[in-house]
């Protein structure tokens, strides 16, 4: 990729396609992941006893037979850990207590000397259950007898289902102040947004369109499964090695969950080596709590819990399913006057993380559009399916499928061009968001026009009408946006240490989950300190040594951690200037850094290399030295953010720090007989603010795009009528291979700087997957005249819809 971005011209290292600083470790197999670490012969293994029922009371657990097996060290049940914990809401348990809430939930564990013995003994743990009726759909959970009957009797009574509660003690759960659980119901959180006057908005409209859209659950499918090792020594020190996106948040949750055992933050150490893919699945704490708890039962010995691929599917976070009901009003000239979105989220058995997905989607479900009158209800509903949680896109992929499909239908009804309609309503800097705050600077209009040009929007395939071939072509467009969803005080920090030769080690606690942040952080420090990126090593986190980072989620690391690194580098630079000025009697303001040396604007000959003083100081005439090891420190917290708002309207706060926006379009071909789709070309534009490393931005585009295309073309979690996941492996849950790559991907980077970002940068990681589903849905409609309203849009679904249409002329599905 050419470095023709704006930053490239201005800077030495920023905006360049620097090679990944972790590249060599990864292509040689030297990079260590949790399961690659050798814990020696004393390592114990734990196998988990899992619930066979989606909803049941636990009557008794008999561990005697399992305990008698030679090689079994301990059998542990929920009796030993009656503690509730969670990230945003304390609604989950280390082991199930009096009831189980999904198939595969952990009920007990067997710790043994080897894996096979642990697995064998786990089968001998006898658990007696009393089966309860599982609640497998949001409609059952809300006490609405069918999908059709989702009219709301009264605002107050909505969702009341006191006899059928998955969490009868919901009202006792502690949670963050921006969640609103509803008593006597399965509603864990209800996010309301009310802006303007909805009724008059619809009265103003010349045309109103209502429809419903459905998105199922999806799995992250990182190639490395979750793995966790705990060692609690006899002094009460607990060290954890985890495959995690969130070392400090994990430490904090381990402390909270195990506080009754006396653990404090200084007693727990979380070490996180490289992670084999995250995509949100390794954020927060899921199965890692098991290794932490079990380690406290076998003091002095390390114990490993590692998920099989199947467990990875059913007992980590899953992307939540959603049912969306959309009503939109538009004037003849194409102005959107009103939007009502009702989102029912199938959030699963525990929502300690997933409820915040529901919250984030609720805040932003207008999409990147300027709409004066808005009503959004985003409802987090407990079901007896595996826990929902964070997945790349964090709710935006889910609501955008419906919204962007609806936008296209609206344009079609008004006989407006789908791109012109979007351009007319696309949000701009300063526009008022649904919750009242102002939209940040952004290049959305530029993204739209560039994508339209790249995909040759408006250029049809006339031959489709002429010949009788089964192949038809279509083009589809979608906008996208996403803000980091995080607590208002989520922060990042950095220590930056110089070495004797002027090279650097940077200590951080964000995670290199593949996105390339190590490289970008090195580029930021390089730019400030004039040390080339290949002389900078970023360290994987160890909470004892690396400073605090909230979590590597929300696409906020480039921005937030980047700001911390920039400040740490500036701090080190200022220390250098101060020292040189003091030791050599120069003026600080005359000094600058270039090529790993201090130079003077006044004296062109002056050049003091870092390696001459950065650790050992600057020698004086009397043989003494001035200075000492230079260590920079930086931190960043968005002090302007606030999650406080009126629960009834969502107005008043500034819950989102900024949005990253963009547009994408696809050109595809469909075989009408088989329904198979071939993706010919995708054009994708994202406003990165400043692309610190364009090649890595492009990597996010090719990767996220294919992940998004898979969700619309074939991926889909299938459950049976008892709540059991039917396709928990890569044979039955197909993810893309090299054979599924689009023929052509045009990556477009737009750069409208983010004022508070490092060199103007903002995150792009999640965004690249978000528009994939609606743009394909819109292209299918363009090609066939058939609107498919439920994901995935499989070949089977298309073929059947084509058949149905030819038989009775129906156009909806």
């Amino acid at each position: 990729m050419k470095e023709d971005n704006q930053a490239s011209a201005k800077f030495k290292y920023i905006g360049k396609n620097t090679k990944r600083v972790d590249g060599k470790e990864k292509i040689t197999g030297a990079a260590k992941y949790v399961d690659d670490i050798d814990f020696g012969n004393s390592l114990l293994y734990a196998a988990i006893v899992e619930s066979p029922y989606a909803h049941a009371k636990i009557l008794s657990i008999n561990t005697k037979k399992a305990e008698k097996i030679p090689g079994v060290v301990r059998v542990v049940t929920g009796n030993e850990f009656p503690f509730r914990f969670g990230l945003y809401m304390h609604d989950r348990y280390i082991f199930a207590q009096d009831r189980v809430r999904f198939i595969g939930e952990q009920v007990a564990a067997v710790i043994a000397r080897d894996e096979a013995t642990a697995q064998r003994a786990a089968k001998l743990v006898e658990v007696k259950y009393e089966e309860l009726k599982p609640i497998l759909s949001v409609y059952d959970a809300l006490g609405l007898s069918s999908k059709k009957e989702n009219k709301r009797s009264s605002e107050k009574e909505f969702g009341h289902n006191p006899k059928n509660m998955i969490h009868p003690k919901l009202s006792e759960y502690t949670h963050v102040p921006w969640f609103f659980p509803q008593d006597n119901s399965n509603i864990a959180h209800f996010r309301k947004i009310r802006k303007g006057d909805l009724e008059s908005g619809f009265q103003e409209a010349d045309y109103i369109l209502e429809d419903e859209y459905t998105v199922p659950r999806y799995a992250h499918c990182a190639i490395e499964t979750h793995a966790s090792v705990g060692l609690c020594d006899h002094s009460g020190r607990l060290t954890m090695w985890t495959a995690s996106q969130s070392p400090h948040t994990q430490r904090h949750l381990f402390v909270e969950a195990l506080a009754p055992l006396g653990f404090t933050h200084k007693d727990i150490r979380v070490i996180t080596p490289y992670v084999g893919g995250g995509f949100g699945g390794k954020a927060g704490v899921s199965m890692e709590i098991l290794a932490a708890a079990l380690a406290t039962c076998v003091r002095g010995l390390p114990v490993k819990v590692i998920w099989s691929r199947s467990q990875e599917f059913y007992n980590t976070y899953q992307r939540q399913g959603v049912h969306a009901k959309i009503k939109m009003g538009v004037k003849k000239d194409g102005t959107i006057t009103a939007l009502e979105q009702l989102l029912y989220w199938d959030a699963g058995a525990y929502v300690e993380y997933g409820a915040n997905v529901v919250n984030a989607a609720g805040l932003s479900a207008t999409g990147p559009y300027r709409i004066a009158n808005v009503k959004i209800d985003s409802v987090c509903v407990y079901t007896n399916l595996p826990p929902g949680g964070p997945y790349r896109g964090f709710g935006y992929s889910e609501f955008l499928f419906g919204l962007e499909s609806h936008i296209n239908e609206m344009a079609k009804k008004l006989k407006l061009d789908a791109v012109d309609f979007r351009l007319k309503n696309a949000i701009a800097e300063g526009d008022k968001l649904a919750y009242g705050a102002s939209m940040n600077p952004n290049g959305l209009h530029e993204c739209i026009t560039k994508v339209a040009k790249a995909i040759e929007w408006g250029k049809k395939y006339p031959e489709d009408n002429k010949n009788k071939s089964n192949i038809v072509h279509g083009k589809g467009f979608s906008l996208f946006w996403k803000a980091p969803a995080m607590p208002p005080n989520a922060s990042s920090s950095c220590f930056l240490k110089f070495n004797e030769d002027g090279s650097l080690n940077i200590l951080l606690s964000a995670m290199e989950i593949g996105q390339g942040y190590f490289t970008v952080m090195a580029q930021i420090a390089a730019e400030i300190l004039s040390v080339p990126p290949h002389k900078i090593r970023c360290e994987t986190p160890d909470t004892d040594r690396n400073p605090y980072e909230w979590q590597t989620v929300a696409s906020h690391i480039t921005w937030s951690c980047g700001n911390a690194v920039k400040r740490a580098a500036e701090d080190a630079r200022d220390q250098i200037f101060k020292l040189v000025a003091r030791a050599l009697e120069m003026q600080q303001e005359d000094l600058y850094l270039e090529d790993e040396a201090v130079k003077s604007k006044k004296d062109g000959k002056f050049s003091l290399k870092f390696s001459e003083f950065i650790i050992n100081g600057i020698g004086q005439k009397d043989g003494t030295f001035r200075g000492g090891p230079i260590i920079g420190r930086g931190m960043f917290m968005p002090e302007f953010a606030s999650a406080m708002s009126d629960p009834a309207t969502g107005q008043g706060g500034k819950p989102n720090v900024h949005y990253t926006v963009g547009a994408a379009a696809v050109d595809l071909a469909i075989d009408k007989e088989s329904g198979k789709i071939k993706i010919n070309k995708v054009a994708f534009a994202v406003d990165a603010g400043c692309a610190l490393n364009p090649d890595l931005v492009k990597g996010q585009i090719t990767g996220g795009l294919l992940q998004g295309l898979a969700t619309v073309l074939y991926e889909d979690m299938r459950f049976d009528d008892k709540g059991k996941l039917l396709n928990s492996n890569f044979t039955d849950y197909k993810i893309p291979t090299t054979l599924d790559v689009p023929e052509e991907i045009i990556s477009i980077i737009v750069e409208r700087p983010q004022p508070d970002g490092p060199f103007g940068a903002r995150g792009v990681g999640e965004h690249t997957m978000i528009p994939a589903a609606p743009m394909v849905g819109n292209a299918v409609e363009d090609a066939l005249g058939i609107r498919i309203k439920s994901m995935p849009i499989t070949a089977e679904k298309i073929a059947l819809a084509v058949l149905e249409k030819s038989e009775n002329g129906g156009a909806g599905h």
């Binding site: 990944r20 590249g23 470790e25 990864k26 040689t28 691929r309 294919l706 890569f730 790559v741």
Partner: protein, 164 residues
């Protein structure tokens, strides 16, 4: 039972249980951690190694089956330093999390041993058994397409490829 085999060019003998899986033996007993476990059923290719020069999923091979055979892991492909394939993957920022990288490199090595200058279609076909969730494959395919084995061996054009 005791088995003997050649591992990355070195003769080795080992006592194994008949049910032990090759991947586990390589990782946990022989300290070779480049082959990774991603699915344990041959779907993902993260454990790809060479058995007598042919790529296999080591999670589907019993350790006893390799008695008398030659095994090569990614570690064994770097005895003369980083290979041209690895160089190109590095230049293209081809991998992200890196977990699937060893399996891909081994599979690509086999491809290029048999086909000095594969077409993009041939590359896609050869790597279709290796899953990567991060990259969308494009940067991996691009990198492999830039490797012409003849070029690196100073025989440009010798195979009729004319250096691509």
């Amino acid at each position: 039972m005791k088995i003997s085999f050649v591992l990355n060019g070195e003769k080795r003998s080992l006592e194994v249980n008949p049910s032990e899986i090759l991947l586990e033996v390589l990782r946990k007993r022989l300290g070779l951690t480049s082959p990774k476990c991603g699915c344990d059923r041959g779907d993902c290719g993260a454990c790809t190694i060479l058995l007598d020069g042919k790529s296999v999923k080591s999670c589907l091979v019993l350790a006893v089956e390799v008695a008398g055979h030659e095994i090569t892991t990614l570690e064994g492909l770097m005895q003369n330093g980083i290979s041209p394939i690895q160089e190109k993957l590095l230049d293209n920022n081809s991998f992200q999390c890196g977990y699937c990288a060893p399996g891909f490199i081994v599979a690509a090595h086999e491809l290029l041993e048999n086909n000095c200058c594969p077409s993009v279609e041939e590359i896609r076909e050869a790597l279709a058994g290796n899953l990567c969730r991060c990259t969308g494959y494009t940067p991996i395919i691009d990198a492999i397409a830039q490797v012409c084995k003849c070029e690196h061996e100073g025989k440009k054009g010798g195979c009729g490829c004319e250096g691509r």
